[in-house]
Amino acid sequence: MSTTKDRVYNSFEMAQAQFDRVADFLELDSATRALLRDPLREYSFAIPIRMDDGSSRVFRGFRVQHNDARGPSKGGIRFHPQETMDTVRALGMWMTWKCAVVDIPLGGGKGGVICDPHNLSLREQEQICRGWIRQVASDVGPFKDVPAPDVMTSPQHMLWMLDEFETIHRNRLPGFITGKPVGMGGSLGRKEATGYGVVFTIREALKELGVRPEDTTASVQGFGNVAQYAIELYTQLGGKVVCVSCWDQKDQVSYAYRKASGVDLQELLGVTDRFGGIEQTRAAALDYERLPGDQWIDQDVDILIPSALENQINAETVLRIRPRVKLIAEGANGPTSPEADAVLKDRGIFVIPDFLANAGGVTCSYFEQVQSNMNFFWSRDEVLGKLDLKMTAAFEAVLDVAKTQNIPMRDAAYVIAVDRVAQACRDRGWV
């Protein structure tokens, strides 16, 4: 059992350990390892704020630029009461790999402020945002480091930050930050991006498996934003979703809703509240059968799309997956435990790993940045068309590595990401 002191470094150490395994596989030299194991640059600074009651308080802010060999750093800013530099380091490294796997020309970064917005008024939060920018204004920018919303930060926070940045630089630089509202430098298609991205990879995977989408059925865990758009596009491709699970706020449990003839998304949305909760009685009237929430995994379908929570496919539930299932697309972050991963590998089930399958979100952020830099904004279809190209290409590259190296898709995704970043560092002559 580790001591308390060690534990604090856990998240970053985990990220480093993961990197070390991939580095071993790629046989990276020690300099490259040293360069990529730790962030390139780290900023830690004080943000003094005048509170509403006239008192002063000092908050601590961070920014980590893990690697920008492939392009400007990209990553969110978190407001969290227990934020640590190590969490930020780990997440910054993760961003580097995430951008690399979909092959967008961006590096990885992350930032944060130790604060709890629940204890702060909007004005105070605005002061923190502006204070954060004032401390790093010369070290970030549309071609250096591009922040985005993250835990407990919103498009509103991004607009305050952008405004402060532009004020300092006496310029209009909408490409400095992403996650802005549409009409204020935001991109269309962002709502759809993640869910659609999942289905683009599903489509490619089915090609690889030699199955036509219209011959497949799927069961989806979750009925939030990602799941809804995934269902929409998958249905358009001809596939049939027969089961959807969702959280029931009133009963405080989740339920799965099943309809053998296929879920009609619009029909189901008509009986869904804003929170992705499906009304029991109205769903029943539409001939949906209500099952316990965990039964989405027991369905006799071809594809499982976990897009709600972590750790849903674990050592226990993996055994309930029906023989017919041939593909799992991870719409959620970390839905599969390592134990379950091993079982899936043995059973030969094709897994599209989370950071490839749900990379539609970060890709669309990149598009927002591109459009903002041009100050020219695309139509929704144009955004989604480009997203398709990116996701498809990324999938093919990962698949290629998986096949040629004979490793699982998850490992292949890591390998290709690290390899691309290492290559960029070498090309630049850094190592």
Partner: protein, 1055 residues
């Protein structure tokens, strides 16, 4: 007024005339003694003032001739109907004062003029002569008389009175004499002394009565006033005499009020009389004003001394004049209006009184309200010969309960006394077809705290359709409220508090519903309830005094009640910028989904979804722009002036615009502060807005609301019976009977690897389902529900903790670092709605105490409860308090006033064992335990009956168990009755059994509706378990013979 023994009063017309004459005299003297004015100006003003003293001022014109120069009022012309008096200076005529009527009038004593008018004219002429003399003597046109104005005035008035009402002068002299004697003036004492008798008694310590010095009769008035002049200034004398005169005129009112036998009619008539006299309250002496106010308050509202003390400084006589017309009552009624009316009335006056200094409080309104006096219910009962209903309260509560549905039916089919019907009909004419709400206003609320208020109903009426229809609906609603007096809950409650013999009268308020019509709906722009004390602080920056507002779109019913599946918007008006929900996700999740309103077409109270309302009415809703925000992705944007698409699925109720762009929160903050000051306690206030104005609907002391009463913190508990003490961020409340503790050892937790930490969260979720609902406390490190770093607290969702009674977080100091607690922010509003108490523990801070050794030393049930989680036993400790403490339970007492909380091991309260130990006011404040027990008892009895009647053979049943809230004595009014049936039969039997159970469930639901007003289709939740389940210990079968929270057997087959 027919009773004898009361002094005959002069008729109204006469009194009115005297009052007018006096006013005219005051006014004229004032003009004549004004400093620094030209005589011409004085005369012009006089001419204007004089007609007011005559019988027909509108036709009356005055003429003043001085030294050949005449001054005429506008519109003056000479007519035969005139009255004149000479003006003399030093005995010589210098002019004349004349009064002319421009039209003929009926003959009186002197032509069309009264005798008193002649007196007045002479007095005025004399005063003008005096004025001319003064001007002549001083030579200065504007010199003031040597004596002060008051001095002149009182003499003139006394002179006038001597001529018109000599008996009044005697009376004033008598009062003056007493006044002087109280002041200890020796001459006055001598004057009062009976001739040649013993020396006046000194107040001594001796135990024999003082010798009374009787006044001489008749009183030498001249002498009295001469003495008075030596001891009092002219101004004092003037004020005193004027006060006496007004008091004399108001005597009839005081008499009517002081007579306990006078009916509301008589009091009303006296008030009307007073109004007719043209007297104002300010003219009465201060003591008399207070006396009248107190008497009126007692007659109309309440005998409660606290209430009267507060109210007497706020009310005005005018208020009662207005109120008089709004009170409906039976003939000879002696009823009152009840506690709710009193609170609202007082709040309104307090707000008005403060509005001068606080402009935000201007324009706070109260909806038009009519009151039915409390004894109308007696008339109603008498009229229908239902007197035997009174005896029911002495019956067994069981019987009361069984008979209650009949009472409702009988009451609703009864008729109202004709006088009341007439009054109601007239009221409806005034109201028109605006929706109304009928509220109870119990007299017992004054006595026992508002615990009662929850037990009676407020009924909303659409009030649409023809008059007969509306009248019928109104009578129906009133009858239903009346019936609720005889409901089992109030009767049981009263029996427990020895209040059965107290008069069970209840006033009724008929209030116009605040709102506007939008399409087919009628609803307020927003409404809600505001508390002076915030008992659910979501941030340590919020002080308790910053208050709490719960508000919703539409009728306030959804804000007042706690609904676990819907959420009002919360504000702390003292800290308006600190919101509970900060992220878009939280804002969305904890937003209002349903709206209560009145559907005018259906003519009833209705609940519709927010989305449906916005789709139908959208931009036409009042203040909709201030209420609605839109969520674009994560961006929260307020509606703007051009917003039209309210039907958009991204619309969400936030009231952000109201908070940011209107003074509403500042207004509520000011209001709460003012009311707290006046009520001398924290208050809760119901409010609503129709889009234009803010209305107060109800106001009562907050400490009386049962669940947020501060608990008494015992000081003499032996140390070994204390589990923890806390001194920071404490709210009010009391969690009486906790039987289990789940303790997450912070050190052991910190030492776990990540994966196991997650498992702790999942295990807590399983325990949450297993342990008796609302009878356990969760104590854990740092931030429950932490979503970010799992090391900071156990990762749980609300559903993993939703059955706990208390959620406690421990912050242990590490080196110099004290971790932040979450204050439940991750699911704060869920905790609020479910009334789960949040408690932060700082054991290492001053005043903190935490007996961890008890928790670590006690037997850990976890391995027995969840064998698969046994390896977490060093981290998660589940403790059966009853077993460990030899029959005690953990009681958590929270007192926000002291900012203190304790967890003590105490004997259980259920069944009233400990009731005798708790102070009376605390018991009164609880209110909650009897109801829980009550709901449980009824369910248990029903369960027993079902078990008894169940034909085991016919249905293939081998045993029946009860579990859940009924077994745990935590059943609330809407709890299911949970049964387990061991089933061994075939398919047909299963079908028949389910049918049989369904019939029971429906019947019980009906009974429960009558008992509580909560409606559901089926109250019975019966689970069938088969032999297989029993063998496999399936989910429900596991309840049988479980280690904790086991199902309780009701009836089993002998095998």
């Amino acid at each position: 007024m027919t009773r004898t023994g009361k002094p005959r009063q002069p008729d109204l017309a006469t009194l009115t005339e005297r009052a007018k004459e006096l006013s005219c005299l005051y006014r004229s003297i004032e003009i004549l003694t004004r400093e620094g004015t030209e005589p011409e100006e004085v005369f012009a003003d006089l001419l204007e003032a004089i007609p007011g003293g005559w019988q027909f001022p509108e036709d009356c014109r005055a003429l003043l001739v001085i030294g050949g120069h005449s001054y005429r009022a506008a519109g003056f012309r000479e007519t035969p109907w005139a009255q004149r008096a000479p003006i003399r200076v030093r005995g010589a005529d210098v002019g004349e004062l004349g009064v002319y009527y421009t039209e003929p009038h009926a003959a009186a004593e002197e032509g069309p003029f009264l005798r008193e008018e002649r007196q007045l004219l002479n007095t005025l002429a004399g005063r003008i002569g005096l004025f001319l003399l003064e001007r002549e003597l001083t030579g200065a046109p504007a010199a003031a008389p040597p004596e002060s104005a008051g001095g002149q005035q009182w003499r003139v008035i006394l002179d006038f009175l001597r001529r018109t009402e000599p008996h009044l002068v005697d009376w004033i002299a008598h009062k003056m004499l007493n006044h002087l004697r109280w002041k200890g003036v020796a001459e006055a004492e001598a004057l009062a002394e009976p001739a040649g008798d013993a020396a006046p008694a000194e107040a001594t310590e001796e135990n024999r009565p003082l010798v009374v010095a009787a006044p001489q009769a008749p009183i030498p008035t001249e002498r009295v006033f001469a003495i008075a002049r030596e001891y009092l200034s002219d101004d004092e004398l003037g004020v005193y005499i004027q006060g006496c005169i007004s008091q004399a005129k108001a005597a009839f009112l005081i008499t009517a009020l002081e007579d306990q036998g006078s009916s509301l009619d008589e009091v009303g008539a006296a008030l009307k009389h007073f109004e007719g006299l043209g007297l104002t309250e300010a003219e009465l002496p201060a003591a008399v004003q207070i006396m009248i106010r107190v008497a009126l308050l007692r007659r109309f509202f309440s005998d409660d001394l606290d209430f009267i003390n507060v109210a007497r400084n706020l009310v005005r006589l005018d208020d009662f004049l207005k109120l008089r017309g709004r009170v409906l009552h039976a003939p000879n009624s002696h009823g009152k209006l009840g506690g709710k009316s009193a609170g609202l009335y007082l709040a309104q006056r307090a707000a008005e009184a403060a509005a001068g200094a606080e402009p935000l409080l201007r324009d706070i309104k109260v909806p038009r309200t009519w009151y039915i006096a409390s004894d109308a219910v007696l008339a109603f009962v008498r009229h229908n010969n239902l007197e035997e209903v009174y005896d029911r309260k002495y019956e067994d509560v069981e019987q009361v309960r069984q008979e209650y549905p009949h009472v409702i039916q009988v009451f609703k089919s009864a008729t109202f006394p004709p006088e009341l019907v007439t009054a109601l009909a007239a009221t409806l004419d005034e109201i028109g077809d605006k929706p109304i709400v009928v509220r109870s206003s119990s007299l017992l609320e004054d006595r026992t705290g508002a615990v009662f208020s929850g037990k009676y109903k407020s009924l909303f009426l659409g009030n649409q359709g023809g008059k007969p229809e509306r009248l019928r609906a109104l009578q129906d609603a009133i009858a239903e409220v009346y019936a609720s007096i005889f409901g089992p809950d109030p009767i049981e409650y009263r029996a427990e508090r020895n209040l059965l013999d107290v008069h069970e009268e209840m006033g009724i308020m008929i209030q116009e519903v605040v709102g506007v019509r939008v399409g087919r709906y009628f609803l307020p722009a927003f409404s809600g309830v505001a508390f002076s004390h915030n008992e659910f602080r979501w941030s340590p920056r919020i002080r308790r005094e910053d208050g709490l507002i719960r508000m919703v779109l539409g009728l306030g019913t959804r804000a007042v009640d706690r609904l676990t599946d819907d959420y009002p918007v919360l504000f702390s008006p003292g800290q308006p910028a600190l919101r509970v929900n900060t992220t878009a996700e939280e804002t969305e999740r904890y937003s209002q989904r349903m709206v209560d309103l009145i559907d005018l077409e259906a003519n009833r109270f209705e609940t519709v979804t927010v989305r449906e309302l916005l789709r139908r009415c959208g931009a036409r809703l009042p203040l909709v722009r201030r209420a609605i925000s839109f969520l674009d992705d994560e961006h929260v944007r307020e509606a703007g002036p051009l917003t039209s698409d309210y039907a958009s699925s991204s619309a969400v109720v936030t009231f952000n615009g109201l908070a940011r762009d209107t003074p509403f929160l500042a207004q509520m903050d000011a209001l709460l502060r003012v009311l707290r000051e006046h009520f001398h306690s924290a208050v809760d206030v119901e409010f609503a807005s129709d889009g234009a104005n803010l209305y107060l609907l109800q106001c009562r002391p907050q400490s009386r609301a049962a669940r947020s009463a501060p608990a008494v913190i015992p000081r003499d508990v032996p140390r070994e019976h204390v589990l923890f003490e806390a001194r920071r961020f404490i709210s009010n409340g009391r969690v009486p009977d906790l039987t289990h503790i789940v303790y997450i050892d912070p050190e052991a937790y910190a030492a776990l690897p990540d994966g196991d930490m997650r498992e702790v969260g999942r295990t807590v979720g399983r325990l949450n389902k297993l342990l008796p609902k609302r009878q356990f406390i969760l104590i854990g490190p740092g931030r429950w529900g932490s979503r970010g770093d799992i090391h900071l607290g156990v990762s749980v969702t609300y559903s993993d903790v939703n059955n706990t009674a208390v959620l406690a977080e421990i912050a242990r100091r590490k080196a110099n670092y004290l971790p932040d607690l979450s204050f439940g922010t991750h699911f704060f509003q869920d905790l609020v709605e479910a009334e789960i108490r949040y408690l932060p523990l700082y054991p290492d801070e001053p005043g903190g105490y935490f007996r961890e050794e008890f928790l670590l030393g006690a037997r850990n049930l976890l391995p027995e409860l969840l064998p698969e989680s046994a390896e977490l036993a060093p981290v998660i400790r589940v403790i059966d308090v009853v077993r460990e403490t030899g029959g005690r339970v953990l009681r958590v007492l929270l007192n926000g006033d002291l900012d203190e909380a304790v967890g003590i091991f105490a004997p259980p309260t259920a069944g009233g064992v400990a009731a005798a130990e708790t102070p009376a006011d605390e018991r009164a404040a609880e209110g909650i335990e009897p109801t829980f027990l009550d709901h449980t008892r009824w369910r248990l009895r029903m369960a027993e009956r079902i078990a008894e009647r169940l034909d085991f053979e016919r249905f293939g049943v081998a045993g029946v168990w009860v579990f859940g809230s009924t077994k745990n004595a935590t059943a609330g009014p809407r709890s299911d009755l949970d049964l387990l049936l061991h089933f061994r039969g075939g398919e047909t039997q299963r079908r028949e059994l389910l049918l049989w159970l369904e019939a029971w469930g429906t019947a019980l639901a009906g009974m429960n509706y009558l008992r509580t007003g909560y409606d559901c289709d089926n109250l019975l939740d019966a689970r069938l378990v088969t032999d297989d389940d029993m063998l496999n210990h399936g989910e429900w079968a596991g309840k049988i013979g479980a280690v904790t929270d086991a199902a309780r057997p009701l009836r089993l087959t002998s095998s």
